[in-house]
Amino acid sequence: MAVTDADVTRAAPRVAVTTAGQRRRIRPARVLLHAFLIGTCLVWLAPLLWAVYTSLRPYADTAERGYVSLPGHLGLSNFTAAWTNAELPRYYLNTLIVAVPAVLLTLLLASFIGFAVSRFSWKFNVALLILFTAGNLLPQQVIITPLYRMFLLIPLPTWLNDTGTLYDSYWGIIAIHVAFQVGFCAFVLSNYMRTIPHELTEAALVDGASVWRQYWKIVLPLCRPALAALATLEFIFVYNDFFWALVLMQSGDKRPITSALANLEGLYFTDLNLIAAGSLLAAIPTLIVYITLQRQFVRGLTLGATKG
């Protein structure tokens, strides 16, 4: 995208200037800075490392020696207990059922809006984008009360959901994720698509390519980097959602993993060791995504905040 290209060219002279200047200047400041950053990073990792340490110790071990002590025994028993007793695989599956269609649909619909707004100038473009972006920025609680009643009133065939309404169904959760997140993605994608030269689609238009063809064959493939970044970010957003499924789903066993944790804590995660193991298990998929796709995730976040 435009920003990263510009970064590369702009950063180059700066590197030269600062390193040349730095060589001559004081080094102790640098040492101090590294010491400070290493210290901060250790503090930052501490909560997670503490959770890992606690989760690896059986309850009996911590009960005997206290939590802040050297371990008498380390093992994965808390993880296996959390995994099987709380039937975690089911909740991971629930998350997958919601997240995959939600992310794909969000990106598809958002790219429609981005394409229309960036390629064709209408009077409503700005108003439309304000509507979408503002909708995404609203706190969820602003709309939850009527939404909850709407979901109870909207019928759904029983083969789609056994309660016969949108309430307490995967469809409802997918729908609200798509409706809410499409605002953010439309904003980002319209910014991104405006950086694609108009000449490309213009030429295609002169050659008689239909609007759909311009979208599908020309603009969308060029948006791959933005789509990859947004897909990563949106997956994390949907995975981490706690609120929608908490309010819009009644059956605990249908809830995605993040929302399910609230119930599981009382029922199965009865001591701190199990809480540690359970929350780490719930966090692992996002940590894997972070480790493998960190750049995409960060770019997705900053794409929205800086002008594309």
Binding site: R14, V15, V17, H34, W44, L45, P47, W50, A51, V68, L109, F112, I113, F120, S121, N125, V126, L128, I130, L131, T133, G135, N136, L137, L138, P139, Q140, Q141, I143, I144, T145, P146, L147, R149, M150, V178, A179, F180, V182, E202, S210, V211, N240, F242, L246, V247, T258, L261, A262, L272, I275, A276, S279, A282, L287, Y290, Q294, L301, A305, T306
Partner: protein, 315 residues
């Protein structure tokens, strides 16, 4: 430059309009229509619904015809006799103030440090940013291990685990909001840091060079040149901070369902629909208060943002 570009672009737009077939127009209409319908139907219609229902009394048991319209009674009751309202407002304000003072300033500080050509900057960034991928619900769980009164890390390190002297970080209503804010900041700092880093990277380096040539020291250059140039990102972060402070919900709900010192407006809204007593109108009134506060920040920001970017690129 805008003037030079605008005339051929305008001509092109006119030419393009004529080239569109009826099928093209239908496709475009659907491409705009479907997402708009979904978004408006599930976000803005309920938002308007909140406004309408805020003037009503409804227990949600009967049909829509059992709704009683009671004017501004809900508002008057909330402002005068609803006990958790003012504490919740106060907690939201504290949340906002804390987020502005602590994680925002610290995140900016880290970003400025990491923007210096540092060895290992990437690794520092990765670690500091790590909590951002965790949900606030999981952050709540992880920090329970730290704050737990008898078994938690802090009290054990301080040696205050006896009945008489232990510190109940999450149970004491004078302490728990601050404890939660520290946990939430652990996640928020990385977010702010990465946004400021992106902002710093997009700054024109000649700005800083000019300041250095003029003999400005690091602090002066930051204060007078870099920080003012970060204005667009400051505005974004301001809006994000306000919205996040109003949205805060997961972490307090996980810890004690938002009671006993952790009341927030978002929790009060939720309690009025999934709590024992379903008070649709009352909950909606609280939602409208949230809506008004958030739109007061969102709309001016977006209007300025889009006016600027569109007049530059599309007109």
């Amino acid at each position: 430059m805008a003037v030079v570009r605008s005339s051929p672009a305008g001509a092109a737009t006119r030419r393009r309009r004529r080239l569109l077939t009826r099928r093209d127009k239908l496709v475009l209409a659907l491409m705009v229509g479907i997402p708009t319908l979904v978004h408006v139907g599930l976000v803005w219609v309920p938002a308007l619904g909140s406004i309408a229902l805020s003037f009503a009394r409804w227990d949600g048991i009967g049909g829509l015809d059992t709704i009683q319209w009671i004017g501004t009674l809900n508002y008057r009751q909330i402002f005068t006799i609803y006990p958790p309202f003012w504490p919740a407002v106060q907690h939201n304000i504290i949340w906002l103030a804390f987020f502005i003072v602590v994680p925002t300033v610290f995140g900016l500080f880290l970003a400025v440090q990491l923007d210096k050509q540092l060895r290992g900057s990437r690794i520092y960034q990765s670690i500091l940013f790590l909590p951002v991928v965790l949900s606030l619900a999981i952050v709540g769980f992880i920090w329970q291990l730290i704050y737990a009164p008898e078994q938690g890390l802090i009290n054990n390190l301080l040696g205050r685990t006896e009945q008489g002297n232990l510190i109940d970080w999450l149970g004491n209503p004078k302490l728990n909001l601050w404890a939660v804010l520290i946990a939430a900041s652990w996640r928020h700092v990385g977010y702010i840091m990465i946004l400021y880093l992106a902002g710093l990277k997009s700054l024109d380096p000649t700005l800083r060079e000019a300041a250095a040539i003029d003999g400005a020291n690091e602090w002066q250059a930051f204060r007078r040149v870099v920080f003012p140039a970060l204005k667009p990102i400051n505005v974004v972060i301001g809006v994000i901070t306000v919205i996040e402070s109003l949205r805060a919900f997961d972490i307090v709900y996980v810890i004690n369902k938002g009671t006993n010192g952790l009341e927030l407006l978002s929790v009060l809204v939720t309690n009025n629909i999934i709590g024992e007593a379903s008070r649709i109108g009352f909950g909606s009134t609280l939602a409208v208060i949230l809506l008004v506060v958030s739109l007061a920040f969102i709309i001016p920001y977006l209007v300025v943002y889009f006016r600027g970017s569109f007049s530059r690129e599309l007109r």
